[in-house]
């Protein structure tokens, strides 16, 4: 079974972003970028399936400017076999990404597609569900466990009250949650090997997808600041303050 994973290049999770003075977005110049953490989990899961003999080939797809190829190389160093890069400098929104992934899935015909549940930049949590809908495939979102069966894939999902297990008819789409696995660090020999793995370049036009944004960002602002910082010396004082000043306990 071929497995396709989508990977997104985002601002590193440890960077605190700043809003631009002209309110058009956040400051991205000279900021450390990395693979979206949930996408790392997706790649790791695909690699583990291959190590268990359940997957035969792993294709890693990313979309955006030239620099996305670094993110694809990271996936290749973790163990993906080849990459597909849809190269564009246009702003990409989830629906357009899902449409382009659909075109790639139709050409590649994987048995399983794995995406991260959410990208930590726009926090949308949409692309996997949209892609599954467009393909008419079943979806196992927020997965903490994947079981590949005969013609079916069982997925344990993290839901608000606990866990839910669904059985999906293959081919299927899965989005990853935190506890699915712990991604590996690529070893130096594997990073070297990844440089030789092929990355195929495509364009939105060649895939026949109109990527015009459906949502227009009017402005981006700083969130209201919280005034914190009062330290109390004792539990007595804390409880007094909670009662008298905050009024949150009787």
């Amino acid at each position: 079974m071929k497995v396709l994973v989508a990977v997104k290049r985002v601002v590193d999770a440890n960077v605190k972003v700043r809003v631009k003075a002209d309110k058009t977005g956040v400051e991205l110049a000279n900021i450390k970028m990395a693979m979206n953490p949930f996408c790392e989990i997706a790649v790791e899961e695909a690699v583990r399936l291959k190590e268990k003999g359940k997957a035969t080939e792993i294709v890693a797809v990313s979309m955006g400017p030239q620099s996305c190829q670094e993110t694809i190389r990271t996936a290749l160093a973790m163990g993906a076999d080849r990459g597909v890069h849809v190269k564009t400098d246009a702003e990409l929104q989830p629906l357009a990404v899902a449409k382009m992934l659909k075109a790639i899935v139709e050409a590649e015909k994987p048995g399983l597609v794995i995406l991260g549940k959410q990208a930590i930049d726009n926090d949308c949590n949409q692309t996997g569900q949209m892609l599954a809908g467009l393909l008419g495939w079943p979806q196992g979102t927020f997965a903490s466990k994947i079981d590949i069966g005969d013609g079916k894939i069982d997925v344990t999902r993290e839901i608000d009250g606990g866990l839910e297990t669904v059985s999906l008819k293959a081919p299927a789409l899965v989005t990853t949650d935190l506890r699915l696995n712990e991604p590996r660090y690529a070893s130096l020999p594997n990073i070297m090997k990844a440089k030789k793995k092929p990355i195929e370049e495509k364009t939105p036009e060649a895939l026949g997808v109109d990527v015009t944004p459906r949502l227009k960002t009017l402005k981006v602002e700083e969130p209201p600041k919280r005034k914190g910082g009062v330290k109390v010396a004792s539990i007595q004082e804390l409880v007094d303050k909670l009662k008298a000043e905050a009024g949150v306990i009787q």
Binding site: V19, G133, Q139, E158, A246
Partner: protein
């Protein structure tokens, strides 16, 4: 035109997140309808009809909606939703699962996790873990929206008298089956609707300490218990305890962060709480920058002391 709210329910009652979503929907369009899709969901439909401001309840009662799986419910929304100006659901694991799929079937964008309605086509939503607020305008004919429930008040549950209309089931793609649910059993209030939350982080050191140290304090306060991602990753507590950017978003009256350093991903999930208390041994921990009241010290000493003090005063 009207706004359609996809109800989250257990066939008998409407879950509270739906009430906040209805308040958001009323700001998008005054004519609010509610879709209740389930099996044997008459009770939930009747409950929805009593919510003031709801004009009509659409009830799709069919075996295929038994567990409200994304595939059949999104297919239903893609049919019914065509005639609406907006479709809304709470931005919890239920809404996030179903709504983007429905949006794709309708060929429209989704506006995720809104915290404010500026006008019928313009909304405010947090990005980058809440470190920036984006105001976005949708050019689509149908606005598909998930609602951050902490951004809107809950609608009342009585006083309304909407009509209930039975809806024919839509075609089921038939590609998914429900197997089982394992829900955490707890006497405590639900995290997302609790008035008080006691949350633990890596500083708790073990799952055992959550039980021995944190839970007695939560008992005294009638609080829900939450956790940081670090505590979940370390296996101290299950994932559904997680408060943060990729877990649950909460805004209780009182949030007590115990042994939580305050990474931006955690702050994203709780910084709208009315009062924040931080207990941490590291006085430089970023949690103190957002805490209304901070106390520096050993949590294993301070938490039992707080519990005892609250008990002592309650006994007076």
């Amino acid at each position: 035109m009207s706004a359609l709210v996809l109800a989250e329910h257990d066939n008998n009652a409407i879950r509270s997140a739906t009430l906040n979503t209805i308040s958001a929907a009323a700001k998008v369009d005054a004519d609010v309808h509610v879709l209740v899709a389930g099996k044997g969901c008459d009770g939930a439909a009747k409950a929805a009809a009593q919510i003031p401001g709801v004009k009509k309840v659409l009830k799709a009662d069919d075996a295929r909606y038994d567990h409200q799986l994304a595939e059949p419910v999104a297919a239903l929304l893609a049919t019914v939703g065509k005639n609406y100006a907006a479709i809304l659901a709470p931005a919890d694991t239920f809404g996030k699962n179903v709504l983007p799929r429905a949006a794709a079937l309708l060929d429209v964008a989704q506006i995720s996790d809104i915290i404010a309605v500026v006008s019928s086509d313009t909304f405010v939503r947090p990005i980058y873990a809440g470190n920036a607020m984006a105001t976005v305008q949708s050019g689509d004919k149908i606005k598909v929206i998930t609602v951050r429930t902490t951004g809107f008040p809950a609608a009342a549950t009585t006083g309304g008298s909407a009509t209930i209309e039975a809806l024919a089931a839509a075609a089921d793609p038939g590609v998914s089956n429900f197997v089982k649910q394992e829900l955490s059993k707890s006497e405590r209030p639900e995290l997302t609707s609790a008035k008080v939350i006691v949350s633990g982080g890596r500083g708790m050191q073990s799952g055992d300490n959550f039980k021995k140290v944190l839970e007695p304090l939560a008992d005294v306060l009638g609080a829900a218990v939450g956790a940081s991602r670090a505590a979940v990753d370390s296996g101290f507590v299950p994932n559904d305890f997680q408060v943060g950017q990729t877990g649950k978003i909460v805004a209780p009256e009182l949030y007590i962060a115990v042994g939580i350093s305050g990474a931006i991903q955690h702050l994203a999930g709780m910084k709208d709480s009315k009062v924040i208390v931080a207990i941490n041994k590291d006085e430089e921990a970023p949690i103190f920058q957002v805490a209304d009241f901070g106390i520096v010290g050993d949590l294993f000493k301070l938490v039992p002391e707080l519990e005892a003090e609250l008990k002592r005063r309650a006994a007076k």
